[in-house]
Symmetry: C3
Subunit: 253 residues, 3 copies
Amino acid sequence: MKFLAAAITTLTLMTSSATQAEGTKMLDDVRMVAPALEKYTQGTLLGDVWKRPGLSARDRSIVTIAALIARNQAIEMPFYFNLALDSGVKPREISEVITHLAFYSGWANAMLAVTAAKNVFAARNIGSDQLPAASPSLLPIDEAAEAQRATRVEQQFGAWVPGVVQYTTDILFRDLWLRPDLAPRDRSLVTVSALIAAGQVAQIPYHLGRAMDNGLTQPQAAEAITHLAFYVGWPNVFSALPVAKEVFEKRPR
Amino acid sequence: MKFLAAAITTLTLMTSSATQAEGTKMLDDVRMVAPALEKYTQGTLLGDVWKRPGLSARDRSIVTIAALIARNQAIEMPFYFNLALDSGVKPREISEVITHLAFYSGWANAMLAVTAAKNVFAARNIGSDQLPAASPSLLPIDEAAEAQRATRVEQQFGAWVPGVVQYTTDILFRDLWLRPDLAPRDRSLVTVSALIAAGQVAQIPYHLGRAMDNGLTQPQAAEAITHLAFYVGWPNVFSALPVAKEVFEKRPR
Amino acid sequence: MKFLAAAITTLTLMTSSATQAEGTKMLDDVRMVAPALEKYTQGTLLGDVWKRPGLSARDRSIVTIAALIARNQAIEMPFYFNLALDSGVKPREISEVITHLAFYSGWANAMLAVTAAKNVFAARNIGSDQLPAASPSLLPIDEAAEAQRATRVEQQFGAWVPGVVQYTTDILFRDLWLRPDLAPRDRSLVTVSALIAAGQVAQIPYHLGRAMDNGLTQPQAAEAITHLAFYVGWPNVFSALPVAKEVFEKRPR
C-alpha cells in the first residue's frame, strides 16, 4: 500500500490517515477479486488521471463526488469525501454540493450522501460552525438573464405544468443557485458533472454553457469530461461528447 | 422535530409512530451535514409540495414509492412506505407496485423494495391475508386495443426479437396489467412515474397516453410531474416535459 | 423451496449449496411481500426464460451479472455470481467482467461488484491462482480496424477533448479489450448488456456490431435482449429494440 500512499500524497497538500485507511481497505478488497482493477486504480486512475495538469485535485474532487452522488454510489463516498477535504474542498462546500444535488439528482441521492458525509464529518470533528447557514444572505442575481430564462420556460411549459415552472424560478434560480457557500462556477461544475454522470444529455447544452459563463474554461471542461469517463463509464461520456463539442464550437474562443 | 410531526400530520388522517421515527432519524442526519437541505425537506417538500391540492397524498405516495423503486433507492423506502400506508395506500397495492416494477424497472429493483417493505409490513403486523393472491381472477381485457398493440409490436420487432414480443403479450398485457389489486389508473401512474424517474423518455408517450385513457387527468399528470422533480431530479423532469406536453396537446381537452 | 431447487438444477450441471441458500433466502423475503413476484420469479424467470434454448445458462449468467454491475445492484449479486460459477463461468472471467465494467459502467460499479464477488470467492476457496494476472500477454490486435476506429474518434473529438481520445486508445482498445482471460465475444456480450441495462442507446450500434463481428449470432443477441427485459426492465429493452433492429437489418444474414 506504499504505492497508494505515494499516489495520493502527491495529489494533495495533506493526505489524512482517514483517506489512506479508506483507500487501503478498498484496494485490499479489489486485489482479492481483480488484480488488474487494482493496477488500473493505482496506476492509471490515481497515478495518472488525477495528476493531469488541466484540472486541480480540488476540482477533480468536486467532479468525483458530484458523480458519485448523482449515481447514488455510497461505496466510494468515504474515500472521496476524505480526499476532497484533503484537497481543499471545504466542509461547507461539500454540504452545498449535497443540497444542490437534491434538486439536480433527486432527494434520495442527497440523503444517501448525507449518511456518508455525516460519518466523515464526525471523524474529523467538523461541527455545525463549519456548515452553511440554512438561510444565508444570497448572492446578487443577474435579473436580465434570469428573466429571459424564466420567460422561455414559462412559454414552453407554463400552461401545462405550472408547478414545475414555479418551483424552478422560486426555489432553484432565485434561491438555490444564489446560496453563497459554493461559487457559481463550482455549482455549475457540479451540475454538469451530475448531468453527464446520469446520462442526461438533453440538459447538457444549457448547463455547460452556463458553466462557461460562470468561468469554467474549455480546457477545464474537457479535463472534467476526461476525468468523468472513469467514474461514470465511457458510454456516458461518449454520449455527452457530441453535445459538448457543439457547445464548445458555438462559443468565441 | 415538532415541525416534522406537524407537517406530516396535516398530510394524512393518521400519522403512525413508525413514519415519525423514520422521518426524525432522516432529518437528524441531514441537520449534521446540510442545514439547508433540512429546511428544504421540511419547508418546501413536506410542508408545501406534498400539500398542493392537485394530487392527493395517496397518489403522491404512489408516485414517490414508484420513483424510489425505479431508482433503486432503499434509503428513503422505510419512511415513504410508512407514509404511503398512513396515506391510504393498501398493503396489497404496495405489493402490486413492487411486482409491477419488477417488469418495468428490473427484477433487482423489485427485490430491493421487497427487503424494505418486508420490515415495514412486519412492524405493522401485515400478514399474507393482506397481500394479493399469486394468481387471482384477472380484470377483463379490452381485446380490440390489445390486439392493436400486439400487432404493432409484432410487426416492428417480431421477426427479430420474438421472445420479447411473446412475453410482452403473454406476461405483461394479458396477465400483469390485469391483476385486480392495483387499479389500472394507479398502475399507469406507477409506470409513468418510473419512466420519468429513470429518464426513459422514449417510452413516455405510449404510457402517458394509456394513463390518461385509464383516468389520470391532465392536471393530475402535471402535479405528478411537479412532485417527481424533487424525487428524481430536475433534469429527468425537464427531459420528460417536451414529450409530456406533446401528449397533452394531442388529446381533446 | 423444492421448486427452486428443481428450477435451478435443470439449468446447470452442478447447483451449489451456496446458490440454493441465496435463492431460498431471496424467495423467502419475496413471499412475505409479493406472492405474485415469487410466482413470476420461479415460474416465468427461472423456470422458463433461463431455459429457452437460444442462449446457454453460461451466457445468460454473463448477461445477468453484467446487467447487475451496470445498474449497481448488489442485492442479487451473491445469488447470480454463484449461479454463474455453477453454470461454467470461470472465476477469472467474472474478474475480467468486473474490470471491464469499471470502464464501461463506472469505477464505483466495479468496486461494489468487488465487495460481493469477494465473499462468493472466499466461500468457495477461490484464491489468487484462479484470478487473471494484472498484466498478462495481450491478444493480438487487428491494427487496420483499430486504426480506423482511432482515426474516426480523433477526427470527431481529438481537438476538443484530447484526454478521452488518448485513454480510449491506450487503455481501452490497446489494453483492456486485448486482455486474454475473457474472450472478445464475451467481452462484447458484457458491453452490450451493460449498455442496454443503463439505457445508453446511442452507444449500442457500434458495440452490437462489434459483438456480432466477434461471433455473437443474431439469434443469440435476440435472446440476450429477451433475457435482459426481466433484469433491466421492459422500457430499457424497448428503447434498445429500434437501434438493435437497425443493426440486424444492415448485416448480411
